[in-house]
């Protein structure tokens, strides 16, 4: 992918839109309901991640179909594709990739702006909540479908007083494709 083009823009222009308030308030209602149902913020974080995972394993096909991407040559390109094309396509914003570790298996996805948190302020009672934790699940689910096992978590959150959103993405394993049946089956 040429570094100077904005690959997410073309896809973004071609996808259907919904009203931003409806989107933000729908997400808010889900988080709200989870807080009521589970009471503990840690449990809510976990539930959001699981919900995201279930979205991610479907969304990846939609992403591949619309963005017309066939393969990424390495994990660096994968991370760039997530922030430049994926975030643009589904959230309407782009981020940057930073803080690579030396063997290129771990990086940070940085978002300055995030439509999920419009109108949101964390009350005293929800201090441990990662309000956008669903995003981590989505990324983890989507990458798992393309044979990458990852660990994804928030390390900075604007709602908690940080200056940006930072998602730490760690590649655990690339799973090779093996013949699923035994010979004598």
């Amino acid at each position: 992918m040429p570094p100077n083009s904005r690959p997410g823009d073309a896809v973004f222009a071609s996808v259907d839109r919904v009203n931003a308030e409806l989107f933000t308030l729908t997400y808010g209602a889900i988080v709200r309901q989870l807080l009521t149902d589970f009471e503990e913020v840690d449990e809510v974080n976990k539930q959001l991640d699981t919900m995201g995972y279930n979205i991610g394993i479907r969304l990846i096909d939609d992403f591949l179909a619309k963005a017309n991407i066939t393969r990424c040559s390495d994990f660096r390109e994968t991370a760039e594709t997530i922030v430049k094309v994926g975030f643009k396509m589904f959230l309407g914003v782009t981020g940057t990739v930073a803080n690579w570790n030396t063997d290129n298996t771990e990086c940070s996805l940085i978002l300055d702006d995030n439509p999920l948190v419009d109108f949101v302020e964390l009350p005293e009672t929800c201090q441990g909540l990662y309000y956008c934790n669903i995003l981590c699940g989505v990324i983890r689910g989507a990458l798992e479908m393309v044979s990458m096992r990852t660990e994804v978590k928030f390390v900075k959150d604007v709602l908690r007083g940080d200056d940006v959103f930072e998602i730490r993405l760690k590649l655990l394993e690339q799973v090779p494709e093996e013949y699923p049946y035994k010979d004598d089956e």
Partner: protein, 162 residues
Amino acid sequence: MLQAPGGAVGSSTRMRCMYMFNRQGVCLHYHVWLRPVSVLSRQEDQKLMFGLLFSLKLFTAKMDPVGGSKGQLGAAQLQGQGCSFHSFQTNTYKLSFMETPTGLKIVLVTDSKMSDLREALKYIYSNIYVEYVVKNPLYTPDTPFKCELFNQNLDNYVKTLS
């Protein structure tokens, strides 16, 4: 073997059948337009087809004279690694194949004079499978599906192929 529900046969006499496999080798969908001869049980038939695709893919990648990688024939590959074949032809039929990065394999069997179906396979994936199966919130991913909208749209689409 019976014809597909909806009975699109006649309008698309060039189509024979279609398989969709996930990466675990489960046949998610099997669609027949015209297949009067079938010697195996449906299950054996699908397993054999999956085995053929799997081996052929590894084999073609291993035989690549320029981009091929060293190592044993049949050694596991990462998804998307190596080249892949897109069709083969016999004197009586043609088999066209596509694999997505998510490991979905789509196979279209047609008569032997069918033109290049790479675009058609992409269309079936992007505009029919993703739209009517994956995005259905009540569909459980990675399980076989029977979906009326998918069948209808597929039947309509293959009529346009030549």
